[in-house]
Structures are given as C-alpha cells and as structure tokens.
C-alpha cells in the first residue's frame, strides 16, 4: 500500500449550533480542510455520522454533503460505527488512498445533536448498544458505562474521586482551545460534588454532547511532498470489534478491540506504545479513558486510573491525553469526534496547537470507540521533518 499523508484539516467549534444545519456544519469543515490543503476537488468523500436519521430525519449524507460542499458528482459514502463513525470515515479514506483507488479523499465527521430533544438524543445514543437486550431494559448509554465503572472500582479498589484527574486534565486543556465547548477549568471539589447521571458516573465524568464537524484531506505521500505542505503521515491505521453488548464479553473490563486495533496500528508504524508522544483517546467517560489506557498498553490492567492520579496524562506528563480537551471538554459531537481527534493530533504534530502545544512531539495516537468498546479504530500519526 502507498504512503499516505494528511494534507488538510478543518473543524467547526463544538457548540449548540441552533442556526446551522447538519449539512452546512459538514460543509464548513470540508471547505476549511480543502482550503487548508489547497485542493479544489477531491475524488472521494467519506462522511462519518451516527444520528442524522434519528434526529434530523436525513440519510444519504454522502451525496448530500458532497453536493452542498460544491463537489457534486464525486464518489461519496456515509460510514457508521456508532460513536466511532468519524474515525471509520478516516479509516475508509486512508484505505482508498493507500490502496490506490484515488489520490485525494476527504474524511468528514458531523453530528447535529440539537435537532432533536434531549430525550430523543439519549434514546438515539442508546442505539449504539444492543437494542434488544440492553436498551429495552432502560439502559442509557451512560448507564452501560456506569456498570463498567462500578465493577472497575470494586475490582481495583478505587473511589469515585480517583477518576477526577481525567476530567480536570481535559477541562484544563480545553480552556485554551477556541473550538472547545467547555472552556472553563474545573476543580477537584467540583468533580467530587458533580450531579450523578447514572451512578457512579456523574455529569463531570461524562463528555458533553454538542453539534460539530471536523474534516481531514488525505492524499498520497508523493502528492503531499509535491504540494510542499507540512507533512503528517498516517503511519498506522487499524480497526477491530468486540461484542456490542457488554454482557456478551467474558472480560468486560478489558477492551479487547482497543488492544487489537492499537497493536496492529503500532506494528504497522513499526513502533511500540512507549514511543507514542501523546494520545487522543475516546474519553467519552472517565472510565473509558482508563480502560483505553490499559488496553493500549500505556498502563497495566487496573492501573489506568493510577497513571492519571500520578499526573502522567497532563501536558507535562509521560503520556499527555486529551491535549485540546478530548471528548470530555472539547465536546463530543458523536459521529464527528473521531475526526476531531485526528485534526487535533495534526495540530500538535504541525506545531499549530497554540498554547496547548506539546514541544517536540513526533508520534501521536488517536483512538475512537463505537459503543461500549464494540468497534475501535486506532491511527498512528507521524510528523515527517
């Protein structure tokens, strides 16, 4: 397969965009990414989205977004892996370019949460879980993750407040990201006193949902060099699955799909977890971040929370995560988050992360999760100097 680079990035702020439609949100991100890349007309578009059918009564987003972005006629598809849909769009675009089906593709993630009521959104998000054996019992998506967190605390002896560093770090990093939804740092005190959603998960354990869109332009390495753009390579790309229902797994506290996809992506890049300078992980809930750290090999089992308690996930730590706020505080426009992660990793690797810049970073990992560990996609991005 061919060498592949990300040559353009675009994003809208994550927010409640009452005045912008689903389609126009996507168009803004796609146009920004194309402008950044200096490309007029890509050959393919992959749109990652989860909720447009439920909340905006609109499908066929591939053709819709292509047309409205001024790209009528190009090949275009929607990809869905629940909350990881954006990363799936990136993976499809990567495969198309690396495999030779085209030279330039755009991956766009978009989610318009505010076209439905909050109850509709909560019900629609539960469609990431097993409809027949989880959702029908009244489990919201939060509740399913709460079951993991409760068991994790029981098995490894943590208290709820021990998860605080994940959220505090994310809010700290979001506070200086102009595209983030929650730009106010939070204190340990606020974390401890936060309102329960599905015990033990509180509001401040949870990512905030919002409207947003992000896009990347993916091209052959050769084209990237020719254009003279700052080059960020996709050094590794992989996906893996697990059962959709948590109860169908023998080890619910081990995200086997995160393990498999990260190991494959690292192997493809020819590096190990120890080489990674920072990771944009799927911190939809604080427990999710902990389980991801462990499954990817950044911490032994049961020690993901300890890693955070030790300060190692902050920008000054051994493995900075959520460096521009993460899902937690940049905000989680569900099907778009996987692309936001890639956009932010490129910002870091290009040295365009503003006051959040990690000095001298060269290798970043992004990992996005559809469902409670069901479909997990990992990318390794590398700055070429």
């Amino acid at each position: 397969m061919r060498d592949v680079a990300i040559i353009g990035i675009g994003q809208t702020p994550v927010s409640e965009h009452w005045d912008i439609s689903l389609c126009d949100l996507a168009v803004q991100a796609v146009k920004a990414a194309l402008l950044d890349a200096g490309i007029e007309r890509p050959e393919m578009l992959f749109v990652g989205n989860m909720l447009s059918a439920a909340l905006s009564r609109q499908q066929n987003l591939g053709a819709l977004v292509a047309d409205h972005a001024g790209l009528r006629g190009i090949e275009a598809y929607k990809v869905e892996t629940a909350c990881g849909s954006g990363a799936a769009a990136v993976r499809m675009a990567y495969m198309a370019v690396a495999g030779g089906a085209c030279d330039v593709a755009v991956a766009c993630g978009v989610e318009k949460m505010t076209d439905g009521t909050p109850e509709e959104a909560t019900a629609a998000l539960a469609e990431a879980a097993d409809a027949l054996y989880e959702a029908t019992h009244g489990l919201s998506f939060v509740a399913i993750n709460a079951l993991l967190m409760q068991r994790y605390m029981f098995e490894y002896g943590y208290r709820h407040e021990d998860f605080g560093p994940f959220s505090i770090n994310a809010h700290e990093n979001a506070s200086t990201n102009p595209n983030a939804m929650f730009r106010r740092p939070i204190t340990r005190e606020q974390f401890v006193r936060s309102r329960p959603i599905a015990d033990p998960i509180t509001l401040l354990d949870s990512s905030g949902i919002g409207d947003g869109s992000a896009a990347v332009v993916i091209a052959t390495g050769e084209l990237a060099t020719r254009l003279g753009r700052p080059v960020v390579r996709i050094a590794g790309s992989a996906g893996a699955t697990d059962s959709v229902a948590v109860h169908d797994r023998r080890e619910p506290l081990f995200f086997s799909a995160a393990h498999t996809s990260s190991q494959r992506a690292l192997a493809q890049a020819g590096v190990t977890a120890a080489d990674i300078d920072f990771a944009e992980l799927h911190d939809a809930f604080s427990i999710t971040a902990a389980l991801s750290l462990e499954a990817c090999g950044f911490a032994p089992r049961g020690k993901g929370v300890a890693l955070a308690l030790g300060g190692e996930i902050s920008r000054q730590g051994r493995l900075p995560i959520s460096t521009l706020g993460g899902l937690k505080a940049r905000g989680h426009p569900v099907g778009a988050s996987g692309v936001y992660q890639v956009v932010e990793a490129v910002q870091q690797l290009r040295g365009q992360a503003g006051s959040n810049q990690l000095p001298g970073c060269r290798l970043g990992m992004t990992q996005s999760i559809g469902g409670s560990g069901a479909n997990i996609i990992t990318h390794i991005l590398e700055r070429i100097s």
């Binding site: 909560t122 027949l132 019992h137 489990l139 919201s140 409760q150 029981f154």
Partner: protein, 135 residues
C-alpha cells in the same frame, strides 16, 4: 420495541430461554445461533434457572425516552448461576442495599411506561433472592 420484536423475543423475556452449545457446553444468554466461544452452531434450547448474583450495578437518574417516569431505577449486570452475564433492572430493593455479589432472582415485570404501537411490554427484572435470604 415494536410488536414483531417483542413477539420474537417473548421466550427469552418471559422464561429466560437461552441455549447451550453442544460443542463446548457454554450456556448462552441471550440466545444466538453461533457459539461465540467455539464458533459452533448453537441452537439447543436451555432454560436458565433465573438465579444469579449482581456483577455490577448503577442507579439511573437521567433516563432515556420511555423510562423518564420510572427514574431513578437500578440496572445491573447479573451473573447467572449457569455462567453468562445479562443486563436487567433490579426491583423490590432499596438502591442503597444493592452490592456486588448480592444474590438475585428473576421475576416478570412491566418494562416501561407507556407503549409503542399499543403494546405493554413485559420482561425479566431481578430482585433480591428470597430463598437464600432465608437460608
């Protein structure tokens, strides 16, 4: 849940009917046609006894549509005596009294407020185990 979906799963919902894998003997609930452990066809019916212990639990304060007026309620992963985990609500218990390892047993209850397509949904919930509590 629509009427066809409800009708199709009534044995599972009302009698905890699952399967046993004829190859590796894993007990499977919810039922599925292929054993996830050994990949063999698994269509042999197996009725679970309905007893188990709480593997994990959560008190749901913010409920999805259709469950708003039931909140707060307790949901759990229950480890059935025969092996598999399942997801269910706990009932007839004070949320404060639930603990990991608590013995529970299956009961049939109404699942949600209101209805879709005029259907009143019944299914399994779990309550603290009566027999064992007395033993």
């Amino acid at each position: 849940m629509s009427i066809p979906m409800y009708w199709r799963t009534s044995h599972q919902r009302l009698a905890l009917t699952g399967e046993v894998c004829p190859t590796c003997e894993a007990k499977l609930f919810p039922p599925r046609d292929i054993c996830p452990h050994c990949n063999s066809p698994a269509k042999t019916r197996f009725d679970f006894c309905g007893r188990g212990t709480v593997y994990s639990y959560s008190l749901v304060n913010v409920a999805p549509r259709g469950f708003e007026r039931c909140a707060p309620y307790v949901v759990a992963l229950v480890a059935l005596e025969e092996g598999p985990l399942l997801t269910a609500q706990l009932t007839e218990t004070d949320p404060q009294d639930v603990f990991i390892g608590m013995p529970v047993e299956m009961v049939t209850r109404r699942m949600r407020e209101g209805s879709e397509q005029g259907l009143i949904e019944y299914g399994y919930k779990f309550r603290p185990c009566m027999e064992r509590a007395e033993a």
